[in-house]
């Protein structure tokens, strides 16, 4: 193992994981000296009956505790917005709540973080707190309950909140934005459809793989990433085929959180650079972009980080395949293994899991990423900071070349990767 000359690592979220983890919420609130939490969620989560599960779990075990739900806000949009943040903050204050329980995915969690800045700092202008390090003290208690197994945002210290009136996105970064608790319960992902289960798991896999192979890697994140990769590859196809496999669901939820710890400390590279750009230009769900672009990112960087990529064959394919593959062939075998996993998920979902961008359609059957959009995506990628952490450099032409291959579904011709 090669140690970096210097690194920083921080993960201060208490994790409670299990089939009945929700029942620990009252004890967690007690430990946080909170009695009146505000629940923040979105319509989809509420409609799936997940908030009922949270509240009934809280009721079951609340003997001896004084916890009372202050209010529930269930109208968070997919793209977190300052108007919503202010609306929820108003509800928090009017109901005299003292803590937040965020139940949902990335947008719900980002909204909860924004609300917490407003109510804890008594802020009138959220913009004052944007950027890194502007929040200087501990905020009110927060519990995060993820409902997908992919984003890992319950372990990240960043929130992105849009101000649609000014057409800007504000980024907030502070260790004080980390939730106090992350509660990982298998019941929260039980109703996820097969195709969403598949691409969110590939999102978690990408976090772990990029954390392990990009420039910010460190030994603590590596350990988390390796375990997360193993948990995803051993369980995802099974869970897609058998949605009631609760042990498998719990494994994927754990993998997502561990990958979140890994990438929030090691950061990510070009798969995310292009994924953010494709999401921004064509509104393709993040997990689908990650799923398609992951093998291309590894192929592009292989001349620089082939040794790390080769090491991933062990958690991806198991001991036997790893040992029987000569060392110099392991990096390409790793990529083959990931492509095989994508194909298996494509087959298991009856073709709904896309393998490349020309297979990505919206609900109305329209192609989401047209070939003409690829230059826009490459241009947008040039402004994404995750490229700093990618082992090899990319310019506009490189981004475009990778996207053309990922659109068509042709592996990269690695001889054409520019090396300096």
């Amino acid at each position: 193992m090669q140690l970096p000359g210097y690194y920083e690592f921080c993960s201060r979220v208490k994790m409670i994981a299990g089939h009945n983890a929700l029942e620990q919420i009252p004890e967690a609130l007690l430990a946080l000296k909170s009695e009146k939490p505000l629940i923040i969620t979105d319509k989809g989560v509420a409609a799936a009956g997940l908030i009922k599960q949270v509240t009934s779990a809280m009721n079951k075990s609340k003997k001896g505790t004084k916890v009372k739900i202050g209010a529930t806000y269930d109208n968070v949009p997919p793209d977190s917005d300052i108007t919503v943040v202010n609306e929820v903050a108003k509800l928090y204050k009017s109901k005299k709540c003292d803590s937040i329980i965020a139940v949902g995915g990335g947008s719900v969690l980002d909204t909860a973080k924004g609300v917490n800045i407003v109510v804890s700092e008594n802020a009138t202008d959220l913009m004052q707190y944007s950027g890194y390090g502007a929040i200087k003290r501990k905020l009110n208690p927060t519990i995060a309950i993820p409902t997908t197994s992919g984003t890992g945002s319950e372990m990240t210290l960043v929130a992105v909140i849009a101000d649609h009136s000014k057409n800007i996105k504000m980024v907030f970064g502070s260790y004080f934005l980390l939730p106090d608790y992350a509660i990982i319960d298998s019941r929260m992902t039980k109703t996820l459809p097969a195709s969403i289960t598949a691409f969110t798991a590939m999102d978690a896999l990408t976090h772990a793989v990029e954390a392990y192979t990009c420039l910010g890697k460190n030994p603590v994140s590596d350990a988390m990433a390796m375990s997360a990769i193993q948990l995803v590859t051993q369980n995802v196809v099974n869970v897609v085929k058998k949605p009631n496999d609760m042990d498998g669901r719990l494994a994927l939820a754990n993998a997502s959180t561990m990958a979140g710890i890994a990438f929030s400390n090691s950061m990510v590279g070009m798969v995310h650079t292009l994924g953010h750009a494709t999401g921004g230009v064509c509104h393709v769900p993040h997990g689908i972009c990650m799923n398609i672009l992951l093998p291309y990112g590894l192929e592009y960087n292989m001349h620089k980080t082939g040794n790390y990529i080769g090491e991933l064959l062990y958690p991806l394919a198991g001991e036997e395949v790893y040992n029987s593959t000569p060392k110099k062939e392991r990096p390409t075998k790793t990529v083959e293994q990931i492509r095989k996993l994508i194909q298996d998920l494509h087959d298991a979902t009856g073709g709904r899991h896309p393998r490349w961008f020309k297979e990505v359609y919206d609900r109305d059957g329209n192609l989401m990423v047209s070939r003409e959009k690829l230059p826009d995506i490459a241009k947008t990628a040039m402004s994404d900071a995750s490229q700093f952490y990618n082992p090899e450099d990319l310019d506009y032409n490189d981004f475009l070349w990778v996207m053309e291959n990922a659109w068509e579904g042709t592996p990269l011709n690695r001889k054409k990767v520019k090396k300096g």
């Binding site: 910010g216 700093f388 952490y389 450099d393 520019k418 300096g420």
Partner: protein, 181 residues
């Protein structure tokens, strides 16, 4: 306890390291101005930045520093080492003098320094991406290949860089850096 009996011990000033970094920042600042007037791609890179763009690259806690930005005519200019009223739109802070030494003795590239959290960015991230690209190009112009390869992720191959652009550009950037035009 009488705390006044125990005076605060100041950390060593490291004057030679600070002087070295100050000189390097002066060279890089002037070279950014020079390269922006010489290299077409850098001209376009700066043209895409906001009109009031002002970069402050400095070492925490107390400097040295350099400021580069656009003047009222939209031309890229080195504004010295001291802020003069205008608030920087992008601040890149190196956490301490030792981290700065690693960067400016080319033991660590800008990207590795970022990955190791030695560089704190305050401002728009797209602007920061552009500045890193500019710094990479400037380093490629200023430094011999053997050193520049340590500073940048990918040194442009001879075949990928027009020899005319490379040699004449390098002479022009050097001349303009030291003459200041």
């Amino acid at each position: 306890m009488d705390y006044n009996r125990y005076p605060e011990i100041q950390a060593g000033g490291k004057p030679f390291k600070k002087m070295y970094i100050a000189i390097m920042l002066w060279v890089v600042g002037r070279a950014m101005q020079a390269a922006a007037r010489t290299d077409r791609e850098l001209k376009e890179e700066f043209a895409a930045l906001r009109d009031d763009f002002l970069l402050k690259l400095w070492v925490l806690p107390g400097g040295p520093a350099m400021l580069v930005g656009k003047d009222q005519k939209g031309r890229v200019k080195y504004f010295g080492w001291k802020e003069s009223g205008e608030k920087p739109t992008l601040t890149m802070s190196v956490k301490n003098i030792e981290a700065a030494m690693l960067m400016f003795t080319f033991q660590e590239s800008t990207t590795i320094a970022t990955a190791r959290e030695r560089l704190v960015v305050d401002g728009d991230l797209p602007d920061a991406c552009a500045v890193v690209r500019v710094l990479n190009t400037v380093e490629t112009y200023l430094l011999p290949k053997v050193i520049a390869k340590l500073a940048v992720k990918r040194y442009p191959k001879w075949s990928q860089m027009n020899p005319f652009k490379k040699h004449l550009g390098r002479i022009a950037v050097y001349a303009r850096t030291f003459i200041g035009v």
